[in-house]
Symmetry: C2
Subunit: 466 residues, 2 copies
Amino acid sequence: MRAKKTYSQADLKKVINELATTFADRIHLSQSICDQHGQGEDSYGCIAPDAVIYPFSNEEVAQIVTLCNRYKIPVIPFGTGTSVEGHLLALNGGISIDLSEMNQIIEINPADMDCRVQAGVTREDLNLALRYDGLFFPVDPGANASLGGMAATQASGTNAVRYGTMRQAVIGLTVITPQGDIVKTGTRARKSSAGYDLTQLLVGSEGTLGVITEVQLRLHPIPEQIRAAVCSFDNLAGAVDTVINTIQLAVPIARMELLNALQMEACINYSKLAGYEASPTLFMEFNGSEGAVKEQIALVEDICSEFGGSNFKWADTTEARNELWTARHQAYHAALNLKPNSKALTTDVCVPVSALAKSILKAEQDALASGLLCPVVGHVGDGNYHMLIIFDQDNADQEHKAKELSKAIVENALALQGTCTGEHGIGFGKKDYLLKEHASAIGMMKSIKKALDPNNIMNPGKVVDL
Amino acid sequence: MRAKKTYSQADLKKVINELATTFADRIHLSQSICDQHGQGEDSYGCIAPDAVIYPFSNEEVAQIVTLCNRYKIPVIPFGTGTSVEGHLLALNGGISIDLSEMNQIIEINPADMDCRVQAGVTREDLNLALRYDGLFFPVDPGANASLGGMAATQASGTNAVRYGTMRQAVIGLTVITPQGDIVKTGTRARKSSAGYDLTQLLVGSEGTLGVITEVQLRLHPIPEQIRAAVCSFDNLAGAVDTVINTIQLAVPIARMELLNALQMEACINYSKLAGYEASPTLFMEFNGSEGAVKEQIALVEDICSEFGGSNFKWADTTEARNELWTARHQAYHAALNLKPNSKALTTDVCVPVSALAKSILKAEQDALASGLLCPVVGHVGDGNYHMLIIFDQDNADQEHKAKELSKAIVENALALQGTCTGEHGIGFGKKDYLLKEHASAIGMMKSIKKALDPNNIMNPGKVVDL
């Protein structure tokens, strides 16, 4: 694919020259840097922007956006580049705004358990800064993503089942509008009914309504006790039924991750996990006071054994827990490692928990019929799972089959009143699914996009087409 | 005040005649019914709409709105009329859509702990319907409000500290747009990153972007154990410090309500509470498993006694709890009862919990200086409290003083990074405060309003002026 540009090279040159007076060596035109900013960690390939700029402040971002808006040149916000839905493709050309130099932690308020950070701060950096206050920021999508990017894609991850997603975590934003206004949304109060909730409109807007430059976040106290456990099952149905029952009993479990047999095999090989079986497995974590954790564990152990769980193993030391969650976080690379020269099409459906068995078992059945390798990892406590559909990148037939399988999984999820994306966003890749999922609402979404970004310069071609 | 109408009487007549063919005796023009729909439970008085209609279905609401939009006649959604910010005033005339006949519980999904209801279902009706499933809907603003109205104003109440507000409770909506489209937002999945979050944009939009006709809600299991307690304090500072410390220790307390000495006196007299003191008091509730409740209570009792709490009383029977929470819910009427011929100006600020002492103690000081009677009730676990400023309704000087005091409380809350409204909404009464609180964001709010409701027919004159 190539960029479809609607602006002239002369205008682009004018804009870049004008920006060069402010940004000097912070504006980059080299192919390698542009290429690096034109792709995420997905299989959509690369469409490079015309330039990459590293601003330091809200005012600098406003300056870039104002100028680009005048000449109708697209801008694409860039965090750490870990998107998996083609968010970074410069479909209509334009300038990538790399926010990694906006990496200051502006304030931490331990007494109210909130903080304010610039958009380029990563979640690991934030947690490092928080550790002396006995607090942590829970949202954990696996990648060490930037908090601005996580807000933009409404990310979540392994412990959303207990602590919520970015939707619950973000209580305010600073955003630069396409007109170059610096807008502050939200307050530091725990709740507010003051006007339209722009914070929540911008969370998940994927850079299409403005550039997020600061994020106000809710934090949590580090739990008194953290215990992790692994339990393997004879079959996938047993593992999924364990999840459904745990959630229906409202056990406040902190993480509940499912790996199917193939994914376990991949992880055991890739992360050198010793003592685990290549069978359907749940990775679990319990947080809370000593008493609360004890209660939760007793309940979940009962449920596990009722549904054929065995080989219940504890990972109680920090090292054992880290080994476990590192293996979980490496699942994607482990999966790719199953087959040389392969790519993965990552699905991201989320269904009501009661429909989880139906959804996953149907997906497994379809996967089997396709003949493709399909490891599954999932934040199943939320009803969200990823089937990674592995295909040979030089085999068009396999690629076609992978796309058909992905489509079938999404359509089944929608029929079960679920969503095509639990946490990765729409980006470039899921626009057709969004049309299907929110057929009646797409008109309102387009009206909002047109009203806030009439020149369609903010990450165009993502979420909705105008 | 009188309505400022921009449409002709001839057009209004045309619209009403056309609607009469569908709605027959469900369209009302009598002054008494119109008056009843032109006011809430506040001190803004009444501006009656021209007509009141009781639709049964989404399609009927769409029919009304489409026709009104064609003739640019305002529509004002009406739930149970318990708004306290002038939401129901027909400032520009128009038609009140009373949703009380849309009172069907569409589905309850116990396995996923969610449900879908028509907008006119009240929270008490819903809880009645849920009791056999062991579930409950926690958001409790005191009044038996409709769930559509609660979504529209982003209501909360006594147990938001534990269970969140309508923002967390609403996972999807059906809304009728000003163009008469029936739009469904959200899914039944626990999370989604699919497009702009219209659900969250509409929650708290106060009927200015569309008419909410159906609400999908998250439910909670009825806790194994519920224990309520009352603790009185020598002074307000001690009670507030108890709250701050409880929240900072992240105790998952279910309710934590503060009443100042004057409010306690009012409640003791009005609700005939026996055995309580007219001193600053916390009403608390603990929910959870037996073990969890025990842990929470031990912690909070310690904190209470550290800050001068005494006379710790348990209300463990259902009757005793009901007496307690009924008295709390009657606080407004109890306050009005303090003085004959009085009105109350209800404030609704919410501040970061760490700033709660500063905010309340300053408000008490200002209240003392004003010479007015000012009982205080508050959802203080959230940093939200209501000072009810009582004034003689025939005394202009007192009314002026009340408004000045209210303004001072809001300005102080904004200086402390809080909000002018924790749960009542902006409505007609707090538009100036919204301009101050979200100065940089008001332009975006107006753009959205103009884009979605270009004829400004949806509850005009509320939230933002165009």
